[in-house]
């Protein structure tokens, strides 16, 4: 906060006097304004988090409320970290994370680069490209299931049309090999615009004079691209990756509608698995420990990443 004569005067005035002069003191107003938000977050975010931590050391089952709750210490954590099925879910999540981010960065950056050529009508087309990310993932995911139907689905028909295959010969959602890719396709379709918008903001933040200077130094267009454009967009791109990474680590709605985790557990991302443990098998204590492990993982990875991001920004 910058020092102004007024704020200095306000600080010099005893609180009691300030109240008499202008109603409530600034300090009181600050707390009245921030209070409700903090209270709501404490009640609906922090209190539940603490409760989850407590439950994670018990064998509580939410569907049997009357049962006596036993303390099991770290056994839930031990069981999760040594469970090979959960490592499979982690792998499915890693596959999903890696490839969605890979494609979204590639296509998103390319689109932003092209839109930045400022052709006529570019803002309208940008808006049209943005549409998928504004829509409900559950409703859209459910409809993609229809597009992916063998035989009658539009997706299979178009693929078959271009490859000459029989449209009923492959099942995007039903086969173990294809299902992990079909969720990558839908997520990429939906969220590439987000990466694109952030890259676009990055490209537009590069001042023209840098390119003009490079032009005077007779740097080739290719050289300009690699020594000016890429390094200057990189912090923005990394930020987009952070946001997509956190979001896709939490991914639930889209994939649960598309595959429900199947076939088998090939697309069972950690969130879907967690939902199954918590709300179908009702192993509340176990699921709480699972939730804490996931939270710590996201938080840890994100913190390391933000450190790297700040280093890039400082350069």
């Amino acid at each position: 906060m910058t020092e102004t004569p007024l704020s200095r005067a306000a600080q010099a005035t005893p609180p009691g006097v300030a109240r008499k002069i202008r109603g409530l003191s600034d300090r009181a107003i600050a707390w009245i304004f921030v209070g409700p938000t903090i209270f709501l977050l404490l009640a609906i975010n922090i209190f539940p988090l603490i409760w989850t931590i407590r439950l994670s050391f018990t064998d509580f089952k939410a569907n049997r409320a009357g049962r006596e709750i036993k303390n099991v210490g770290l056994r839930n954590y031990e069981r999760i970290l040594t469970d090979s099925d959960i490592w499979l879910n982690m792998q499915a999540t890693a596959h999903f994370l890696f490839w969605t981010i890979f494609f979204q960065v590639l296509i998103g950056f390319a689109l932003a680069y092209l839109i930045n050529k400022k052709f006529r009508g570019n803002d309208l087309w940008t808006t049209i490209i943005v549409l998928p990310m504004m829509l409900s993932p559950a409703v859209v995911g459910n409809f993609w299931k229809f597009l992916y139907q063998p035989q009658i689905g539009l997706f299979n028909y178009i693929v078959a049309f271009f490859t000459g295959k029989d449209p009923s010969s492959f099942e995007m959602l039903g086969s173990v090999d294809l299902a992990p890719w079909s969720i990558v396709i839908v997520d990429t379709w939906m969220w590439t615009p987000f990466v694109m918008l952030i890259c676009l903001a990055g490209l537009r933040s590069i001042p023209d004079y840098i390119y003009e200077a490079a032009e005077i130094d007779r740097a080739s267009k290719l050289r300009q691209f690699f020594t000016i454009t890429i390094p200057m967009v990189l912090p923005f791109l990394m930020l987009a990756v952070l946001f997509r990474g956190i979001e896709n680590f939490k991914m639930f709605d889209l994939v649960v509608q598309l595959t429900g985790g199947g076939p088998g557990s090939t697309t069972e991302l950690t969130s879907i698995n967690l939902k199954r443990e918590a709300f179908e098998k009702w192993r509340t204590g176990y699921a709480s420990a699972y939730a804490i492990i996931l939270f710590v993982t996201v938080f840890g990875l994100a913190s390391i990443y933000v450190k790297a991001l700040n280093k890039v920004k400082e350069r």
């Binding site: 504004m134 829509l135 539009l154």
Partner: protein, 313 residues
Amino acid sequence: MSSFSVTEPSQRSKWFAGTLVILYALITMVPLAWIMLTGFKTPPDSISYPPKVFFEPSLEGYVNLFTTRTRIGQEALDALPPPDTWYEEIVRERDMVIAGPSKFGERFLNSVIIGFGSTFLSIVLGTLAAYAFSRFKIPLADDLLFFILSTRMMPPIAVAIPIFLMYRQLGLSDTHLGMILLYTAVNISLAVWLLKGFIDEIPREYEEAALIDGYTRFQAFYKVVLPQAATGIASTAIFCLIFAWNEYAFAVLLTSGTAQTAPPFIPTIIGVGGLDWPAVAAGATIFLLPVMIFTVALRKHLLRGITFGAVRK
């Protein structure tokens, strides 16, 4: 603009870029266009091979979306008086009669109530908090702000377990109030961050002048700051509304009847003998179209908002 500039792309590269972007935009629209088309197909047309692009439009999907129907025998059908409404006629052609309205209307209304309710609450609380963070010395302000943002890193399912238990105890499960409070808690972090950015941009001198003129802090806040932040508040409100409108994970876990919103309901629309895709598509169209229109109409503020929120940190 000068006719010669090194940074202005050539006409040819503009053409090239424009063509590729438009091509991508058209491909990306195919699934959305298909949803809208399918809504106007008859069930047999919707599952025909090859997929039909041209077909005789029908409102059967929409009728099925809003009604529940029962199949009756030929004799019973013949005994009925002739249908007196166009929708009754469509249903009769499939040897069925309308049994009553479906739940879609209610679910859609729930989405509206919960969406607008939580947006209103997030904006009121968010604006107050953002103003305080922007203008007052708050102890540990940076930590508090980071704490507010970090609440978004929790997977919804992880938060849902204790909230499910807490709501069960408090009687908030499957109520509008419960969902409004929950969505407000989720949205408020984004709202505070976005709004603080907008309020930071308003020069302090305006309020200080008002304070010297004898306004109280509170008067200065709502007579000077609020009008200046109106655009920022509006675009933040749109983001909150879209989030609450689209949310699925909490809705499917915490609501089952009274307060169920449309996203968990639409995928469960089932016709007689398998999934009724035209009805699903009709429901999806009604649900998605408002957001699409909103996005196109308010694109200037929205596009700025998405990047603004993300890039400012």
